[in-house]
């Protein structure tokens, strides 16, 4: 079975294509808690078991929380996060989320999925894409295709009514990444004209902005400075997230958190938030301008501006979008669901399921690809480390282009072709993808030329062919970076290591969630209240041990009732 997965910074979702009498449709699969969204959070319990999703998120602010979130931002880097006794890379954490989604589908349909289409931000670079692919493989899924998030959203949007569409713009502001794509639909063709983005901008940054703004006045006694830094940050960011949601509904919201029984709180107004987020709002414009420029489309001639991603719910962001485009955006697709649904549709297309009349998607490569070169500068010195583009950004893929380069030194015996991806004129500002050494016959400088051909296919795989016309020698390189090489050796070992991590049984998810929540409340409150929470939690644990379903249900209702009440009216 082939599933579609939206692996998000904040939330993830899984969907599948289902045939029915009216043709077919993409449907989201609920998780063990019955929710369609699973927070992208992983927590390691003191007993070594791992928790994924809402329960993990609950543990984030605990003393020994050992919870990781927003790890999508670290994809493609070597950074590891320590949870409990173990260290995890971003791709391993992502794999744990993918495994949990996979199990949700297994529970829902009774069949274990083996293949997946996973979405990535359009502006993810090659390394980040490879890391995502590896995460899929670590989770035991064959990744049939990586599809760009705005493209997936466009598919979901376009298939709502299957109408022809003049170019429209997908504005995808997620938890950690921002993408803009310009898409056109006609005659069953979904054509992405241009994509641009900022893979360091998302809802998380708005949370940080709020947290930075209030920290001083929230905590005059420096209580936050006395606890573990990571925990303080987790508490602040969680509170900021609540405030942000509050501000989506009203002009003022409370920013509150509790440490060791002390409740800190302050009010944040919408205008204060707006002032604080001004820099972030300004960063939204750049990718939009770039995408419009690259596709040579006037903002006025866009047929729609489609909003995707949870962060587009913020009134602040909507206001900015309305101003940018001089019109109200279209919110007819569910900002959190569209991407996963689009991935499922793509999955249906790959599996050539009936019910999906033939649709073709053509995408672009949003980054410039090229090689490192050197040249003689005006002062007679040699300037090294320059970037010579071969495939310009926003070229339709698949594409094959070549460039001719020649030797710089007399008697040069080899040319080192270093491949980079990015927009900077100097390679130091770009992402290194790989390199190959090409031996050439020693001749005076400039007399040996090589022909470098880049072939980029529709799933984002780059192949480099170098030919030396003088000798007729041909060299080929399929870009595999360091991590990939390492990974192919120990992918199996890592997969086994991950599988060996005990995951909490699915059927216990609700109870785990409740326990985590109780634990959090226990840490937040003091005195009598704390004693009551502790008491009820113990009763619940005893009920769990008894394995009597009725007793468990009663105790759970009891405990969650108490927690609901406490959270609704926090005792000061």
């Amino acid at each position: 079975m082939l599933i579609g997965i939206d692996l998000g910074t904040t939330n993830s979702a899984v969907a599948l294509w289902q045939n029915n009498e009216s043709g077919g449709e993409a449907v989201l699969v609920p998780n063990a808690l019955g929710a369609l969204l699973t927070p992208s959070a992983v927590s390691v319990l003191p007993d070594g078991n791992t928790l994924v999703g809402a329960a993990a998120l609950e543990r984030m602010g605990l003393k020994d929380g050992a919870t990781a979130t927003s790890f999508k931002r670290l994809m493609g880097t070597d950074r590891k996060q320590k949870l409990g006794k173990k260290e995890f890379s971003a791709e391993e954490l992502s794999a744990l989320v993918l495994m949990s989604l996979r199990d949700d589908v297994t529970a829902h349909t009774g069949t274990r999925p083996t293949e997946a289409v996973i979405t990535v931000p359009a502006y993810f670079n090659d390394r980040q894409r490879k890391a995502t692919r590896r995460a899929g493989e670590l989770a035991g899924l064959t990744v049939r295709r990586l599809i760009n998030e705005p493209t997936a959203a466009a598919l979901a949007f376009g298939l709502q009514d299957k109408e022809e569409r003049e170019p429209f713009l997908v504005f995808d502001l997620g938890g950690g990444t921002f993408d803009v794509s310009i898409v056109e639909m006609f005659e069953g063709i979904v054509e992405v004209r241009a994509s641009a983005g900022d893979n360091r901008l998302g809802g998380d940054d708005f949370n940080s902005a709020i947290a930075t703004a209030v920290r001083g006045r929230l905590d005059p006694d420096g209580l936050l400075g006395k606890i573990d830094e990571r925990r303080a940050e987790a508490l602040l960011l969680q509170a900021a997230e609540r405030t942000k949601r509050g501000l989506s509904e009203g002009q003022e919201a409370e920013f509150a958190l509790t440490i060791g029984g002390t409740r800190l709180s302050t009010a944040v107004t919408a205008s204060e938030f707006e002032a604080q987020a001004e820099g972030l709002i300004r960063r939204l414009r750049d990718p939009v301008v770039r995408a419009l420029r690259d596709s040579q489309i006037d903002a006025a001639s866009l047929s729609e501006v489609v909003l995707v991603g949870g962060a587009t719910r913020m009134p602040l962001v909507r206001k900015a979008i309305t101003r940018l485009f001089g019109r109200f955006p279209n919110s007819s697709v569910h900002p959190d669901h569209a991407v996963a649904l689009g991935a499922a549709i793509q999955g249906g297309l790959i599996a050539r399921d009936g019910g999906l009349e033939e649709i073709r998607i053509t995408d672009v490569c949003p980054f410039t690809l090229g090689i490192e070169t050197a040249e003689h500068s005006a002062r007679g010195t040699v300037q090294q480390g320059l970037f010579s583009p071969i495939i310009e950004r926003n070229t339709p893929v698949p594409v094959s282009r070549s460039g001719v380069f020649s030797t710089m030194g007399d008697g040069q015996k080899q040319i080192e072709v270093k491949i980079y991806q990015g927009e900077a004129r100097e390679v130091s500002g770009n992402v290194h993808l790989g390199q190959l050494k090409v031996p050439v016959p020693p001749r005076p400088a400039g007399e040996v030329a090589i022909d470098v051909r880049f072939s980029y296919d529709s799933s984002g795989l780059l192949e480099v062919d170098v030919e030396v016309p003088l000798t007729g020698a041909k060299h080929n390189l399929v870009i595999i970076d360091e991590e990939d090489r390492k990974a192919s050796n120990d992918l199996d070992a890592r997969r086994k290591a991950l599988a060996a991590l005990k995951q909490h049984p699915r059927e216990e998810a609700t109870n785990q969630m409740l326990l985590a929540r109780a634990e959090r409340c226990y840490e937040e409150f003091l005195g009598d209240v704390r004693a009551v929470v502790g008491d009820r939690t113990r009763m619940f644990v005893t009920a769990l041990d008894s394995q009597d379903p009725r007793r468990i249900a009663d105790a759970a209702a009891d405990l969650s009732g108490l927690l609901d009440m406490l959270e609704a009216n926090p005792p000061l």
Partner: protein, 597 residues
């Protein structure tokens, strides 16, 4: 791709109907596996785009409003290659406005590009057309801003009183000086205090407006302002920071797609900031900055209180990172500090000469002191700088040898001293240096010969006329001789004005050179060389043809070589051929070409 090919690939008959083209494209696309047939896919897309362009062009005459005119420009350029070629140089020059002071007083060409060439021509008096400003405003207010002179910046600029386009216009008028300039190269004066305040006011209004409009309009204002500020540089300097902050120009820095005008402004922005910082006395390189910016005169010395390392760091740093602020330095002062190893570039040879002259003066002084201190007491060892009589005789011989080689036997050092004293000093000083280097008489002669050749060449560039032709004729012969050894040696002579020691110059050339040198010496034309500035010239096609015949290099390589690219051998051959061809040329470009070679 020709239109016929496009229709054939799409498999339909020529049609202006967009829907039919898209349908045909979709059918073909679905029938192919694009991953297996990458080239086929590229061809199909190209065909579709060409067909759509053609179809839109058919539809265009019907609608003539501004946005379509804009879209039309792109269409025309691509659909009709001939026309695109013709119009290209035009748009090129207009995007490089700051390189073309001739544009002053006329309509701002950047506005033309902002509008697109097919937009109604600009009203020269206003610099704006109806399409430029929002239509209703332009019509309501009228096209002639002189009708409301009060609005042009003399009053408080409030949005209510003045529409955004009027701010743009006022800004433009402040930045571009209207009075005709006699001297094309003269930089416009900086903004006076009141002008600066007004310009900033208008700029703020323009920026405020930009922040409230849609992305497309924002992008247009961004492009327009970048060109206007770049074009009016350095007059526009005070406006750069606020504009860059709003449009995020610096985030574009170093990108492949950085717009030329933005690249120009970014370079200046960084230079401005660095200069501001270094002007503060606390800056570690402040003293070095003051030293290098103080004008030097003949006989000036380096400042005493500056660390050599600081000056070198500043000089290297500025040259590497902010070349555009090097003009603040005094060239003579820089020459005092510049390392001799800096040779090999246009400025390097110049500073090297200066250094040698200073070395000469120093050595003379040391000698004088040495002689004054020297007493005939036998017990005292002679000071280390004193020369034995045999050494003095050897020096005399070496100098005369060099003079023989360069001017012929009739010129002696004494004679040279009376005719051109600084050149004579140069000869002596270099002899001293040569001795300390351990280089032989031949090496010394070659070195001073290079220096004399440099002076001949520099003077010829200033004197022009027949002298320039004579010097270039000799130079072509020298280059030919150098080429026999190799292209690299030939290019070294062109670039560094040093003749490689392996090069054997035929006696005939040497004697012609000698005659010319004596002639110039008699006319006192061998004084310290003026600075040789690199220049450009457009070479007439007929001359290029001649160069191709003379050099035997094919056209594309000739063009490359003229651009300073291509192999050394080509560049050398082309330079020689160009000198020969220009010398035989009767056209008016003759001198201009000879001047840049």
């Amino acid at each position: 791709m020709t239109p016929t090919q496009a229709w054939r690939i799409l498999g339909i008959a020529k049609t202006p109907e967009l829907g039919a083209i898209r349908r045909a494209y979709a059918e073909r696309l679905k029938a192919m596996d694009i991953d297996k047939d990458v080239d086929g896919y590229a061809r199909l897309r190209e065909a579709r785009d060409a067909a759509l362009r053609w179809a839109r062009m058919q539809a265009k005459p019907a609608m003539k409003d501004a946005p379509d005119a804009l879209a039309g420009v792109a269409d025309l350029d691509e659909a009709e290659p001939d026309r695109a070629l013709e119009s290209l140089p035009e748009s090129e020059t207009s995007s490089w406005l700051y390189a073309a002071p001739a544009a002053r007083g006329e309509a701002d060409p950047s506005l033309t590009t902002r509008l697109g060439d097919t937009a109604p021509k600009l009203d020269v008096t206003t610099g704006f057309s109806a399409a430029q400003a929002p239509a209703e405003q332009a019509i309501g207010v009228g096209r002639d801003p002189f009708a409301r002179p009060v609005l042009l910046g003399l009053e408080a600029t409030s949005d209510a009183v003045m529409p955004a386009w009027a701010h743009e216009q006022a800004l433009h008028r402040l930045l571009y000086v209207e009075e005709p300039q006699d001297d094309e190269d003269a930089t416009p004066p900086p903004l006076e205090g009141w002008q600066e305040a007004m310009a900033l006011g208008h700029l703020k209004a323009v920026l405020r407006h930009a922040e409230t409009v849609s992305v497309t309009a924002f992008d247009e204002i961004d492009n327009w302002l970048a060109r206007v500020l770049a074009g009016a540089w350095p007059r526009s300097a005070p406006l750069l920071e606020p504009a860059a902050a709003v449009f995020g120009w610096e985030s574009e820095r170093g990108q492949v797609s950085e717009r030329p005008s933005v690249a120009f402004l970014n370079a200046r922005l960084r230079g401005l900031r660095f200069r501001e910082k270094v002007l503060e006395p606390k800056h570690p390189l402040h003293k070095a900055w003051v030293e290098l910016t103080t004008p030097a005169q003949q006989g000036s010395r380096k400042g005493w209180f500056v660390k050599r390392a600081d000056v070198e760091q500043l000089l290297a740093g500025v040259r590497k990172n902010f070349p555009e602020i090097e003009h603040h330095f005094d060239p003579w002062r820089v020459a005092l500090w510049d390392k001799p190893e800096g040779a090999g570039t246009g400025e390097g040879w110049f500073s090297k000469t200066r250094l040698w002259i200073f070395a000469a003066i120093l050595v003379f002084q040391i000698l004088r002191y040495a002689l004054a201190d020297w007493t005939p007491e036998a017990s005292n060892p002679p000071p280390p700088v004193a020369l034995s009589s045999s050494e003095i005789a050897e020096d005399g011989k070496a100098i005369q040898g060099a003079l023989d080689r360069i001017f012929g036997p009739e010129i002696t050092l004494e004679g040279l001293k009376s005719l051109q004293p600084d050149l004579a000093a140069l000869f002596s000083a270099n002899r001293t240096i040569a001795r300390s280097d351990g280089s032989d008489a031949a090496g010394y002669a070659a070195k001073v010969h290079d220096l004399v050749r440099e002076r001949m060449y520099a003077t010829a560039l200033v004197e022009k006329g027949p002298l320039l032709a004579d010097v270039q004729r000799v130079r072509a012969d020298l280059l030919r001789a150098a080429r026999k050894v190799g292209g690299a040696q030939c290019m070294a002579l062109i670039r560094t004005r040093r003749l490689d020691p392996q090069v054997v110059v035929p006696e005939a050339v040497l004697s012609a050179e000698r005659k010319l040198a004596v002639r110039m010496l008699d006319a006192s034309q061998l004084g310290p060389p003026a600075r040789i500035a690199p220049g450009t010239v457009s070479v007439p096609g007929a001359l290029v043809d001649k160069v191709m015949t003379l050099s035997g290099v094919p056209e594309d390589r000739v063009r490359k070589a003229m651009d300073g690219k291509g192999s050394d051998a080509d560049q050398c051959a082309v330079t020689i051929a160009l000198i020969d061809a220009a010398l035989a040329w009767k056209g008016k470009e003759r001198e201009a070409v000879l001047l840049v070679l």
